[in-house]
Symmetry: C2
Subunit: 412 residues, 2 copies
């Protein structure tokens, strides 16, 4: 029952993750790739658009034929046909003095280099159109390959795929993409006092809250949650369950064991697994001090605090950066930050990085929101439900005065 | 081919959505409810925690027995037993002068009202413990119902369910929740020039980009995308396809028809559908002016511009608020906003609300990021891929100077 751990700093903790390699890549269909992370740079193998297209309804022309025309002195061009949508414009070829009717998106005929908007034309007779505003070469035209020429980089490795990115891929005929595999995260709750959430706990027992919360956090971070349920405090059984769970996962989250005895227990289980290397036995953060990290090859094992409020902070600060590292995003928090004004004095302790749950209240006149701490014992969920994010207070700071501008990490 | 539409303002457009009712609700399992919107207020029907729990490893005591003790004058208490994790603490009852060994999360014995941390105790003999720091009643204890008492509101209607919210529900034994149904959005691309993204386009044709992009936008907004593919420019067929698609959906997104002729075509199809009411024939926004909105009961039909860059802006500004209205979040954009500094002068046109694609560049010393416009013809995708968000310029503003602070709507 020794409480004197060698604590690691939060930044040193996160720095450990740069030694973990991103996961392998897999090919997924573009239709299911939103939010996935590209594992390779993508290069266009063809031209987009594949041909020179009109951006207007009007007449495809040789621009030189319109030079100098005006409302008083129109250019008269012979209309040699219409380019129906979806038909090949290149089937027509303009000689000097000729034009072709064209629609937005239509393919330009041969020798055409510009389009006159229909608003600046008037039919002259059945075969002739009068143009009364000149166009420059290239006007109202998107050239073949102007968007993406063959060989152009489309998206960098590590890009998070957005709707517009997927649209480009569709336009270029790319129907599947190499993305980093989603990290598989095994979740295990420990404690003889736990029953599954769908059961009525007998006296002395409570429902498992952490499995649900951690699974949702994992999915929110892009991982695949593998919920293994509850394991009692039996060493041999725990060792077997952890070994089996990690077999099929990249990460094991073992939560529970906020007490010193249970923490030791988790540590002994992790240490007993062949190939495991113990990396962290506690971190100078509040809440979350009793966090444990072990490594097995490129896999990671976390011992998380049993109180869900603490486990959530540890997840955002430490598990999240590792999942992002596995996903090809780098070992970063990836949480949005807003600047807020402290609504009251917030005390803190020297030597710990404090993550204070805060609720944000918008202010009028465009001022930054007010951050009000939502205090409560770490075993309570209620403050966490009322909070919008976490306000970090550095380890060398005794607290923040009221009215101080400070960044707040928003819950995703 | 009449280009003189009566344009509606963007704010009047969005205001139309308050007449649409949120969708019905459905029960979903808590394990799949992350990101869903609560359709009813949830009230606790039991106490959390269900019993008074220790928050520390130590000894459960009657606080009064410790009053006045100190390192020099310890309180000696008789240890009548240990409360094993998961066992009922209430099986024991403390008489004055008695204590019970307890662990973090354990249930307090009867008559105990506080816990002394093990650090402030020392075994005296086999049956006796010496306490050398007094505790107040309630210290190191979470009372039964302290987190949620029976009858307490847990979460409001309209709450977007986060991991910690789901954790609370698990703790209270709530395994399924009433949430608003996800809006079903039928997506249809029109144009004789289109081929599916997995085909090689023959001369004059291009691949369908909008279906992929819009489907991803819909899913990103929490909707269910129903991709119906490509429909050529045939009135009767279009009418039949639109009718069938809307049958099974809450919203129809018909994209294509950037040209005046095609816009008229979409409008005629929408107007020909029985029960349809035409609401919008163009909006004073750039890009996106030729947007069409019709209504059929509580369902909506959008005619979106054919250029994906315009369609994306219209989606974020108008489709997104309607999907949020259906989902119970209200007709709001729901896009995060950051303040940025314009990196150069950005011209705009009076009479249109301009949504300028911008790329954000972080600045040192904590200054707001620089917003650089990413220009390009609206038929190009490349500028959209390079952009981080949209910078709105009001309809009565001629443009922004360089170095001006302005809010930027971030792509989700």
């Amino acid at each position: 029952m020794n409480d004197f751990f060698k604590l690691i700093s939060p930044s040193d903790f996160v720095a450990l993750f740069t030694d973990f390699a991103p996961l392998e890549s897999e090919m997924v269909a573009v239709g299911t790739a939103r939010g996935r992370i590209l594992a390779e740079e993508l290069v266009s193998s063809e031209a987009l658009p594949p041909f020179s297209r009109s951006t207007m309804d009007g007449y495809a022309v040789r621009a030189a034929d319109t030079f100098g025309c005006s409302e008083s002195e129109t250019a008269l061009l012979t209309v040699i046909g219409e380019i129906a949508m979806g038909a090949s414009g290149q089937a027509l070829s303009l000689r000097p003095g000729q034009a072709a009717r064209i629609w937005t998106g239509g393919e330009l005929p041969q020798k055409a280099d510009a389009v006159v908007m229909v608003e600046y034309t008037q039919p002259f007779d059945e075969e002739t159109v009068a143009i009364f505003r000149p166009v420059a070469p290239g006007e109202n035209v998107i050239r073949s390959g102007e968007d993406y020429a063959p060989g152009t980089a489309i998206l960098d490795r590590g890009s998070c795929l957005r709707p517009q990115d997927l649209g480009v891929l569709s336009g270029l005929g790319i129907t599947s993409v190499p993305v980093y595999c989603r990290p598989r995260v095994a979740i295990l709750s420990t404690g003889d006092e736990l029953v599954p959430a769908d059961q009525t706990p007998p006296p002395g027992k409570i429902r498992d809250i952490n499995s649900t919360t951690l699974a949702a956090l994992v999915e929110e971070t892009g991982g695949i949650a593998l919920v293994h349920g509850i394991c009692g405090d039996d060493f041999d059984r725990m060792l077997a369950v952890c070994t089996e769970a990690l077999n099929d996962a990249d990460v094991l989250l073992l939560s529970g064991g906020s007490s010193v005895g249970q923490r030791d227990f988790t540590q002994r289980v992790f240490a007993a697994m062949p190939g495991n290397q113990m990396l962290v036995h506690g971190v100078s953060v509040r809440p979350g001090k009793p966090t444990i990290l072990a490594r097995q090859g490129n896999k990671a094992l976390f011992g998380l605090p049993g109180h869900v409020a603490s486990a959530l902070v540890v997840f955002h600060c430490f598990v999240r950066p590792l999942l992002r590292q596995y996903s090809g995003l780098g070992a970063t928090l990836g949480l949005r930050t807003v600047k807020a004004i402290t609504a009251q004095q917030i005390p803190s302790v020297i030597g710990r990085e404090d993550y204070v749950r805060v609720r944000l209240t918008p202010q009028d006149n465009g001022a930054p929101p007010l951050a009000t701490p939502v205090y409560g014992k770490s075993g309570l969920l209620n403050p966490l439900v009322r909070a919008d994010g976490l306000l970090p207070i550095g380890r060398d700071v005794e607290g923040l005065d009221k009215g101080v501008m400070s960044p707040v990490l928003l819950f995703p």
